[in-house]
């Protein structure tokens, strides 16, 4: 009974915490530019993330290691240093984008420019992490995050031509703007396969004291949570395809995004969108902030736990405090949050191999996963994911140049 409750809670947490600025923006751009044609990219990203999250959870449950800890141990300090610098910098940009997302929601609600909100929002995020526990952040925010299910409701109410939607599940070449098409596809993959997602998930498995008996629970949560989460991204794409595309609206500014819900829900659609954006980005910003602190503390062997008092883990607390400040300062500079989001998603995609190649070794090393290592199927899938990631790395920067605008 306890396990069933934990599964339900885990799925709710994953679903509520799934949507963030990157997935909303990239899915909306895809739908507005290419109708249902890029649906496959969201599905592919969702599938990859199910497998990666499952393996991250299994690694932590069986070995008691966090991912940064295991990477430092198995691959040594040099590899960890590269991962730390690259992932750290990219994640700071993503954090900036999420804080920017909350600020945009505030601008939509009040009319006061988004930059003005950056520092107050940063303080709020810091205060919740400073005073709160892991449970409050993970579960509290995620429960509120269920408001993002309004996109799913909206997509179903609109009753789109489902056969066309289904056709989008298979990759096809577009009739126009090929470079932009592939650019959006890459940014969707960057938004879906966020390393912070499975690093945070693995830290959660350790915080919640998972052991081998949680392998089944982990599998169900990973598959269920990530599939339902992907469904929300799919809904955003559908809404953009049925609402923005016919009106010729390309997503060039955040002020266009509330349009996704207004035709379905009327005036309250606007407020639903503002609430969704606020909660989704606020939750993501907290998770990403913690992820940066986890990465540092776990890799260097410091005290880390969101359940301890800040005094007990001064270095950990200092890292997240600085991270939030840097993230907020990026927004204060006045950089367009939309551009920042797309840039950080593409860079996430471009740097994916560094964080996921180690899985191939760790998930087959009996020292870590004992008899619960990957079978041929998981290994094949993992190799395919790495192949996709390497391909994305090769094309991401050229596409940014030729298809980014």
């Amino acid at each position: 009974m306890k396990k069933i409750f934990e599964i339900a809670l885990g799925i709710v947490t994953s679903v509520g915490g799934f949507l963030e600025i990157g997935s909303i923006t990239t899915a909306a751009q895809a739908g507005a530019g290419f109708g249902y044609q890029l649906l496959w990219a969201i599905l592919l990203g969702g599938l990859c993330v199910i497998f990666l999250v499952e393996q991250a959870g299994r690694l932590s449950a069986v070995s008691g290691h966090t991912i940064p800890g295991a990477i430092r141990e198995r691959f040594g300090l040099n590899y960890f240093a590269v991962l730390f610098v690259v992932l750290g910098l990219v994640t700071l940009l993503v954090l900036g984008a999420e804080i920017g997302g909350v600020c945009i929601a505030m601008e939509l609600a009040t009319g006061i420019g988004f930059q003005w909100w950056a520092l107050p929002i940063a303080f709020l995020i810091w205060l919740i992490i400073w005073k709160g526990t892991f449970g409050i952040i993970e579960k509290g925010v995620s429960f509120l995050g269920l408001v993002t299910l309004c996109f799913v409701v909206g997509a179903f109410l609109f009753n789109p031509p489902w056969t066309n939607v289904a056709a989008g599940a298979l990759p096809a070449l577009p009739a126009h703007d090929k470079a932009h098409y592939w650019f959006v596809a890459v940014s969707i993959l960057g938004a879906s396969i966020s390393p912070y997602l499975f690093f945070f998930y693995s830290a959660g498995a350790i915080e919640d004291k998972w052991d081998e008996s949680y392998i089944g629970v982990n599998r169900v949560i990973a598959a269920g949570g990530m599939s339902f989460g992907t469904l929300i991204s799919v809904s955003v794409l559908i809404l953009a395809a049925v609402i923005l595309l016919p009106r010729g609206i390309q997503v060039e500014h955040y002020s266009q995004l509330p349009m996704l819900l207004v035709p379905v829900f009327g005036r309250s659609g606007f407020w639903l969108f503002v609430a969704s954006l606020t909660i989704a980005c606020l939750g993501a910003a907290m998770e990403i902030t913690l992820e940066i602190a986890y990465l540092t503390a776990q890799g260097f062997g410091w005290n880390w736990s969101e359940n301890q008092r800040p005094k007990e883990e001064a270095r950990f607390s200092l890292v997240y405090t600085i991270a939030i400040l840097v993230g907020a300062l990026i927004v204060v500079t006045g950089i367009d949050p939309l551009q920042l989001t797309i840039l950080s998603m593409v860079l996430t995609a471009a740097t994916l191999p560094i964080s996921i190649v180690p899985f191939l070794v760790l998930m087959n090393d009996k020292y870590y996963v004992e008899e619960h290592g990957n079978g041929w199927f998981s290994n094949t899938v993992l190799c395919l994911i790495i192949a996709v990631a390497l391909l994305v790395t090769l094309v991401a920067i050229p596409l940014q140049i030729f298809g980014g605008s």
């Binding site: 290691h65 430092r72 141990e73 300090l77 260097f300 062997g301 008092r309 005094k311 883990e313 200092l318």
Partner: protein
């Protein structure tokens, strides 16, 4: 025991189970005509920097001396005080009394501990 696999980069905890860093370095003692013996393990930013690059190590050492928070950087723990246990290496010391936590304690006292709610 395989030093690199079973010791280097592992989580180091003190006798009370408190995290005190990772095993950043292993020091071997060589004497003519004798087998090399494992003398110490090292912990600390200077040791990490040295492993990344020699010049980075020099910079870290200079900064560490200048700042003067850690009395001994890298901090050396005699091999005889260590036990490898499961996924950790346990050192028979009290972490808070060693230079390994100098920065942690300095931050606690000077910055983090002074913020309300810490």
């Amino acid at each position: 025991m395989d030093l690199v696999r079973d010791c280097l980069d592992k989580q180091l905890v003190d006798r009370n189970g408190h995290n005190m860093g990772r095993v950043d370095g292993v020091v071997l003692q060589l004497e003519k005509g004798k087998q090399p013996i494992v003398a110490f393990v090292e912990v600390g930013p200077v040791c990490q920097a040295e492993r990344l690059h020699r010049s980075l190590g020099r910079v870290a050492k200079a900064i560490s001396r200048r700042v003067g928070v850690a009395q001994q950087d890298p901090f050396r723990i005699p091999w005889s005080k260590l036990v490898a246990a499961g996924i950790e290496v346990i050192a028979d010391v009290d972490a808070e009394e060693t230079p390994a936590l100098a920065w942690e304690l300095w931050l606690r006292k000077k910055i983090i501990g002074r913020i309300p709610g810490a």
